[in-house]
Symmetry: C2
Subunit: 337 residues, 2 copies
DNA sequence: TTTATTACTGATAGCGCTTTCACAAATGTT
DNA sequence: AACATTTGTGAAAGCGCTATCAGTAATAAA
């Protein structure tokens, strides 16, 4: 409760004076330099406490060439706004960065046209590193990375895998989901895919494929229908599947949003879930738990995504070169399968 | 497509040399000082372009005492993570700040115990201002504000109204919703309230009350049951309402999450919506449009909240003192009323 | 004891910008 | 024609730190 005085304008020089040492020594103490006599460390710390001193970031940046800032860039063209995803991930980033004395600079900007503005921000000594979110065009990121800016992308980069990235293990998650359906007794597992142009879409489909292949079977093309991750496309895909007449008793849907759409079609046509058709989604989005039937789905560790990205960038800032990471998923069994 | 060279280490001094003027003049041009001869302005701009120069934020901060940074503080104890709210609002903030050459610094931190750390970040010359999200204890903010830090809170501050804030007009929105229900022919409009300890909860209830009062009636206490904004509490509240036996033909629910819960109870008991009971929610959360019956609700302008907060803080940074703002809501008619 | 290390510490020189301040040139005023 | 203003510019002094470098005191090695 005893708020420290926290004077706005105390400078290192004043601390030096009060503590009776040179500015250099104060700086050493502040930065944890070992070889300072114990009694001086103490008197410096005391002065810091008493005057409520906290060093100026600007001055420090200017002197060191480090800003302590990490750009967190979201392509505002992207519609990540269907879920708490972005909030959770940025919060995790911010929290994790704090441990390395870094801070997150938020940048929402259309990635294509902003090239220049963004480049200006990133290229000069404005930030120590940058975290990008899955993007259509990662050529820009590759460029920056090559120029020496520490970068990590959340999601799987399209072109240059040389950029460190962190992603959810989409393929394994999808495979687990499909295998679960099979284990539950499904004979014909259909799938509604996401946008196959996006890595998450492709990989989830490949996971489905792998599960079928493990059975020694080939994928029946009639059982796969393409969606684009939208709720609407889930509805359409399920209608198409049903109308085609192919028999199926389970469906793996590439994300919850489409799964919810698919479920509403199933409900309308009075097809019992999971008795007649079992369904499992992917993402464990918030709304998955809202309906009268809660969705069985593959949960991705969103918070983990953020903190992994943050700690990777922190490593890079310190000069190391972290390996890309793949986060495990978890099958959440609920009402629909 | 032609990426500018964008050299990492061009300094103002080099620009001065290339342009054949003094550093002071370069600085003037960069900052739009009027009284520089036209031909010099041009040669400076040319040099800037050719060398791909962009000024160092740190140096500028050190010289001016301004950082160009706005802290965006989210109390990580809070569960804002049920909706895209946070993502939308921060994106809007970031985008709006850019217009004033400011940037958003993200800080997710438990507000109570972090006092010290946060205070350290905010108090010294680390940021030019701060945006806070609705918080239980705004005493901390009041403190900072009194100390001269430009602050804006998103939501309605509990204690000190002297802090500039921006909020959705909860009362009017709730009143509109209730009146709509009445206009539609409802004779007995019930309400499920939110947490009345939170301003949004209280104000939405007051809006309901006002609509009833406008009819010249008093609120029938049997028609109001308290929830706490959670899905679960919506379910419970509706069960209570139904079990109590009080007749009602419409219900205004203080948020969509509870409304969705209430709806599922109505469905289970085969009560037709909106024929037997009309329902309208509040928030227009994403999931409101997902079910088979899309929720009629009061939309709040989340993006507006973010950009208002951002432009208010920008004004304050420039020394002005903006008035608090109240954002209008909009009734979105869908399937449930 | 003399010399070579080691342990601490303080001057001091920037980091890259802004901003007085002073001054010259150009313009305006009696 | 003499003086007072206004304009446009550069020199130079910081802004608050860090980091190099050199120097003194204390310790180890010869």
């Amino acid at each position: 409760m005893t708020q420290p005085p926290m004077n706005q304008n105390v400078t290192l020089a004043e601390i030096a004076e009060v503590a009776g040492v040179s500015p250099a020594t104060v700086s050493r103490v502040l930065n944890g330099d070992e070889r300072v006599a114990e009694h001086r460390v103490e008197s410096v710390n005391r002065a810091v406490r008493e005057l409520g001193y906290s060093p100026s970031r600007a001055a420090r940046s200017l002197a060191t060439g480090k800003t302590g800032l990490i750009a967190t860039i979201i392509d505002s063209n992207l519609e990540v706004f269907t879920d708490p995803f972005w909030g959770i991930v940025t919060t995790a980033i911010s929290r994790t960065l704090q441990k390395s004395n870094l801070q997150a600079l938020l940048m929402a900007t259309p990635l294509n046209k902003a090239d220049n503005m963004l480049a200006a921000s990133l290229n000069s000594q404005q930030v120590d590193g940058a975290i990008f979110f899955q993007l259509h065009d990662d050529g820009f990121v590759a460029e920056l990375f090559k120029q020496g800016l520490p970068c990590v992308v959340v999601g799987t980069p399209k072109s240059s895998k040389s950029i460190p990235y962190v992603d959810v293990d989409n393929a394994t998650g999808a495979r687990m989901a499909t295998e679960y359906l099979i284990t539950r007794g499904a004979k014909n597992v259909a799938t509604i895919t996401g946008d196959l142009a996006i890595s998450a879409g492709r990989l989830r489909y490949e996971g489905y494929e792998a599960a079928i292949a493990a059975l020694g079977q080939a994928v029946d093309k009639n059982l796969v229908v393409n969606g684009n991750f939208s709720h609407e496309s889930g509805i359409e895909a399920m209608e198409e599947l049903l109308d085609s007449g192919v028999p199926f008793d389970a469906v793996f849907v590439a994300n919850d949003l489409m799964a919810l759409g698919a479920m509403s079609v199933l409900n309308e046509r009075d097809i019992k879930v999971p008795e007649q058709v079992a369904v499992v989604g992917f993402d464990d989005m918030f709304a998955a738990q809202l309906g009268r039937q809660k969705l069985t789905t593959v949960r991705q560790d969103i918070e983990g995504l953020g903190s992994a990205a943050a700690s990777m960038i922190a490593e890079m800032v310190e000069g190391r070169r972290p390996a890309s990471r793949m986060l495990q998923t978890e099958l959440i069994q609920r009402d629909t399968a």
